[in-house]
């Protein structure tokens, strides 16, 4: 039972508290390059999901056989194999989106989030934890991609997943779907995330203070009662 709870925690932490994009600021390159529409962002997120879960599974299954000296090269080869699988599958299933994502599908290999998880987590934990961690981390990545892609598509085209939102009176902010829009949107999202984290910290401090004051008052009251 206890192990189930902690495996669940390994999964949840990637979604928000240790979110790979907002907190660890990893995997920026695909993050910004393909989020000009929500559907591209989702496809890229799912591709990353498959690669990360697959390679975490493989790395943690074979961790006892991998020699320490060549581990990084082996991780990269494992990741590259999964990326090749994704590349060819997308070409077969969704040729239109594959064409739009273009060179950025092979570039999933260079996403430092994936290699980072292998080195920091999958190579040290058993299969179950490694897969849970990979699901959480890539889930967090997918959420961040979706957030960025939606904002950019809504502002830049006035649509979401290709569905028109505002009618013909909306003047699209073309800059949002161009490269500068990616930098600006991610910058502002990070700013929002910082603000939110800071507010939460302040709140927790306040709660802790209030608790301490309460505890002190209680002790005082107890003391008064005892003396009385």
């Amino acid at each position: 039972m206890a192990t189930d709870v902690s495996a669940y925690e390994e999964m949840i932490k990637g979604l928000w508290r240790d979110n790979p994009v907002f907190v660890q600021v990893l995997g920026m390159c695909p993050m910004l390059a393909v989020t000009n529409s929500a559907i591209n962002a989702v496809v890229m997120g799912l591709a990353t999901f498959f690669v990360l879960v697959g390679s975490s599974f493989l790395v943690s299954s074979f961790k006892t056989f991998i020699p320490k000296q060549v581990r990084i090269s082996l991780y990269i080869i494992i990741i590259a194999t999964f990326v090749t699988v994704v590349d060819y599958s997308l070409l077969a299933i969704l040729p239109a989106i594959h064409k739009e994502l273009g060179a950025f599908i092979p570039l999933i290999v260079a996403n430092c989030m994936i290699l980072g998880r292998q080195e920091a987590f999958a190579s040290k934990h058993n299969v179950k934890y490694a897969v849970m961690d990979a699901v959480g981390m890539s889930g967090g990545f997918l959420i961040a991609m979706l957030a960025l892609g939606s904002v950019r598509e809504i502002l830049g085209v006035g649509a979401l997943f290709g569905v028109d939102l505002f009618g013909s009176n909306f003047e699209p902010w073309v800059i949002m779907i161009l490269p500068p829009g990616g930098f600006l949107t991610l910058g502002l999202l990070l700013l929002f995330f910082n603000w939110f984290t800071e507010r939460r910290r302040q709140f927790l401090i306040k709660v802790a203070d209030a608790d301490r004051v309460l505890a002190v008052e209680k002790v005082d009251a107890q003391g008064v009662k005892d003396n009385g």
Binding site: C29, A33, G102, A103, V109, P179, G187
Partner: protein
């Protein structure tokens, strides 16, 4: 010749690797604190990019026509080992050069600009000379973006920036404005 010039200028300014394709963002956001370091990192990256273009051309012409599905894996393995090999030879031959550029080399090999260059050059079907010019343009563009960014960041050191926005968020917004400025170059080749 016109074609080569076009490739160089377009990768340098219009399709800048960092500001238009988002390649090589990790060093762009983390190492660009000082002007001097950024410039040297840019030079080292240009060097690796040229070697990459060479490796990609050799692989594409002699190996990958027989096994196209091995493209990604062979690019990574060959580029990484070539850079490692050159790093060792520089260390042996010229310790002073190694001191100024060598420490960046392992860091650069894992950079997505390197793999991106190999894949872009393959997708566009560049030959050897075109590939080399493409690599030079990409390296010069990367250096330019790094130096501009470092210059701006050195200026902002003395500014009173709110605590919340300091760090990556601030750098990203600067990069956004820089990227917007670079979009002005897009009109340079409107006729082609």
């Amino acid at each position: 010749m016109d074609n080569l010039l076009w490739i160089f200028i377009s990768t340098l300014l219009v399709n800048n690797f960092v500001l238009a394709y988002f390649l090589g963002l990790c060093p762009f956001l983390s190492v660009s604190g000082q002007l001097e370091t950024s410039f040297r990192l840019g030079l080292a990256t240009t060097f690796v990019l040229v070697i990459t273009a060479l490796c990609a051309w050799v692989l594409n012409t002699y190996v990958l026509i027989y096994a196209p599905y091995l493209r990604l894996i062979s690019f990574i393995v060959v580029i990484a080992s070539t850079v490692q090999f050159i790093e060792m030879s520089i260390k042996k031959l010229s310790p002073s050069l190694f001191k100024s550029l060598g420490i960046f080399l392992p860091l650069i090999t894992t950079n997505c600009a390197i793999l991106g260059l190999a894949i872009f050059a393959t997708n566009r079907g560049y030959g050897l000379v075109e590939g080399l010019v493409f690599a030079l343009g990409a390296g010069a563009g990367f250096t330019l973006a790094m130096v501009l960014m470092a210059g701006i960041r050195e200026e902002t050191e003395i500014m009173n920036v709110p605590v919340l926005i300091r760090g990556t968020a601030f750098n990203l917004i600067i990069a956004g404005i820089l990227s917007m400025a670079f979009m002005g170059f897009a009109g340079l080749f409107s006729s082609t």
